[in-house]
């Protein structure tokens, strides 16, 4: 059985949530495997991450290098090619870094590549069977991947629930010396932080979130009215920002903000994965959508099939009534 590796991203000394998810995915590939975590970076932050990962992974490979202080996928790919043995299975989280790193890595390792995997069914002969989605999540597909010369697999964040496990106390192996003189045709310059809008949606406990179903800019006020009545904030999915109905600072999703509210009202939102990826902390999700088949109803706790343009104003009125009654 091929060796399984998981590339772990990190920030400010903290490992990404995907660290334990990739571990769970690796167990699905081979229940008996002891996957190795790989982390790159520099200094105290890198060491802190390695310490944390030792609790879950039997072996942690550390690659420290000046060049890798900022995670530049082009450089990291070159580093990985030097240390990952041929025929290995490499697991990476499917988000902005993984998308950047993984496809090219599969070519350089001469391994097969499957992206955005939701479920792993197991190995059959020299094939790994996985489940993916297509057409924006409207259909699923079983996919067969020949892993005889290894594989690079990106895993959908949140698809694999971390398993309870015994704290392992793994070893940290320093692989830095095997990686020297890294150069690439792409050089990191700086990060431009998104402009803070007037409202910080990450700080709110209740969010009234709108999607394409709001239909036009003028209807955004319907959501704002409800938010005002609830003491909440209005957030949205990507299409609303693309249409310029709300600023980018209101976007919840993998390319927007990550929010951790207590209550999340998904109004006219279809439930595409990229949006749901921005909701953490297991809030109470209420979905209201005209389309009974919208994927959001899989992710929500409570669902209502209705037209938000009619439902929300009535709901707002009821909330206001309640407040005026309780105020008496």
């Amino acid at each position: 059985m091929a060796r399984i590796f998981a590339y772990i991203a990190h920030k400010n000394g903290m490992a990404d949530d995907s660290a334990v998810e990739l571990l769970a995915a690796a167990k699905k590939v081979d229940a008996a495997a002891s996957p190795t975590a790989i982390v790159t970076g520099l200094g105290a932050n890198l060491d802190a991450v390695c310490s944390t990962l030792r609790a879950s992974y039997g072996e942690v490979w550390k690659v420290a290098s000046e060049a890798l202080a900022y995670p530049n996928a082009e450089l990291i790919r070159k580093a990985l090619v030097k240390i990952v043995p041929a025929g290995s299975i490499m697991l990476i989280a499917h988000e902005h870094f993984g998308i950047d790193l993984a496809p090219g890595l599969s070519i350089k390792l001469n391994a097969a590549f499957v992206s955005d995997v939701l479920a792993i069914d197991g190995i059959e002969g020299s094939n790994l069977k996985v489940v993916r989605q297509e057409f924006g999540g409207q259909v699923s597909a079983h996919v067969r991947c020949d892993i005889s010369s290894g594989a690079v697999i990106t895993v959908r964040p949140g698809a694999f629930k971390p398993t309870e496990g015994v704290a392992l106390g793994g070893t940290v192996v320093d692989k830095s010396s095997e990686v020297s003189a890294l150069t690439a045709g792409r050089r990191y310059l700086q990060t431009v932080v998104a402009e803070a809008g007037d409202v910080d949606i990450t700080k709110h406990n209740v969010l009234v979130s709108i999607g394409r179903g709001i239909q036009e800019k003028d209807n955004v006020s319907i959501a704002q009215d409800l938010a005002d009545a609830l003491g909440a904030a209005v957030s949205c999915s990507r299409p609303v920002v693309d249409a310029k109905w709300l600023e980018k600072s209101r976007q919840v999703g993998s390319s927007g903000k990550t929010v951790k509210p207590k209550v999340y009202l998904a109004c006219g939102i279809s439930g595409a994965f990229q949006h749901l990826a921005g909701i953490k902390g297991n809030p109470f999700i209420i979905a209201i959508n005209k389309n009974p088949k919208a994927p959001i109803f899989q992710a929500a706790d409570v669902g209502i099939v209705d037209d938000i343009l009619e439902f929300l104003p009535e709901f707002t009125n009821k909330v206001r009534e309640m407040h005026s009654v309780s105020a008496k």
């Binding site: 350089k108 057409f135 409570v302 669902g303 439902f311």
Partner: protein, 263 residues
């Protein structure tokens, strides 16, 4: 600057209902409307804007069959200088690496400074651009939402990362970039423009011209195969409120209050 955009014709997700066909081995394609993959369209618009600023040509290529020519014509109506159809029975069944291999052979027949693809297509793979770059040994960047030409040798680009932040990098030419939607506002392609390019001959490239054998492309060489399509049994899904609107509102109010959602 010579720019190549690798594009793909896909079922238009906004104007179609995607459902499984009766055999269960594919989606129902009879009444589907096809168009260019949306991120690829943004890529072509970006390419057009770049050559408007610095001069050059835009070529749009697709690996497919005769039906796929329509997107090449549409992008030529938009302003692309050349359209190329890369087609051969031998290419059928290729996986993403196979497609990237085919594109690599085509790229090496020409001399392109910049290669653009859309960040992903309908299969959500987001893979061909990165693979192509690695096969060519060109630098690569994905999720690009801004391109600035510094000079004939390098670009300054911005990538979309978490929280709406932007990662700014310098990248050497020639390179491959995968383009994210929203990078620009694509111009409208009118029916008149499409009719005007309807009879322009579109050159084709096959396995022979590209010197590609069955060991690297086609179904036999594919390591990744889709076995079927299915609609998963609905797992734990939402508790649906089935009453009248008033009843639903009452129930919802209770639930929201219970979860701490009412001040």
């Amino acid at each position: 600057m010579e720019i190549l955009v690798c594009a793909r014709r896909v079922p238009d997700t906004s104007e179609n209902e995607i459902a499984l066909n009766s055999d269960g081995n594919d989606i129902e394609r009879d009444e589907l409307v096809y168009s260019i993959n949306e991120p690829d369209n943004y890529a072509v618009e970006e390419a057009l804007q770049i050559v408007a600023r610095v001069g050059g040509n835009v070529t749009v290529a697709t690996v497919g069959a005769e039906d796929d020519e329509e997107i090449l014509r549409r992008e030529m109506a938009m302003g692309a200088n050349h359209g190329v159809l890369i087609t051969d029975d031998a290419f059928a069944g290729s996986d993403a690496r196979g497609i990237a291999t085919i594109l690599k052979a085509f790229v090496q027949k020409g001399s392109y400074d910049l290669i653009l693809t859309g960040v992903q297509a309908e299969d959500g793979g987001a893979q061909v651009g990165g693979m192509l770059a690695a096969l060519l040994d060109y630098p690569f960047a994905s999720l690009v939402n801004s391109i600035e030409v510094v000079d004939g040798e390098k670009l300054k680009i911005s990538r979309e990362i978490e929280g709406g932040n932007k990662e700014i990098s310098g990248i050497d030419l020639p390179c491959v970039l995968s383009i994210q939607t929203g990078i620009n506002e694509p111009r409208y392609v009118g029916m008149k423009g499409i009719r005007q390019v309807a009879s322009i001959p579109i050159p084709t490239y096959g396995a022979t011209e590209l010197a590609l054998g069955a060991s690297t492309v086609g179904a036999a060489a594919a390591k990744v195969t889709r076995v079927d399509y299915f609609v998963p049994a609905l797992g734990k899904s939402a508790e649906m409120l089935e009453g009248t609107r008033e009843e639903n509102i009452e129930k919802l109010l209770e639930l929201v209050a219970a979860k701490g959602g009412l001040k």
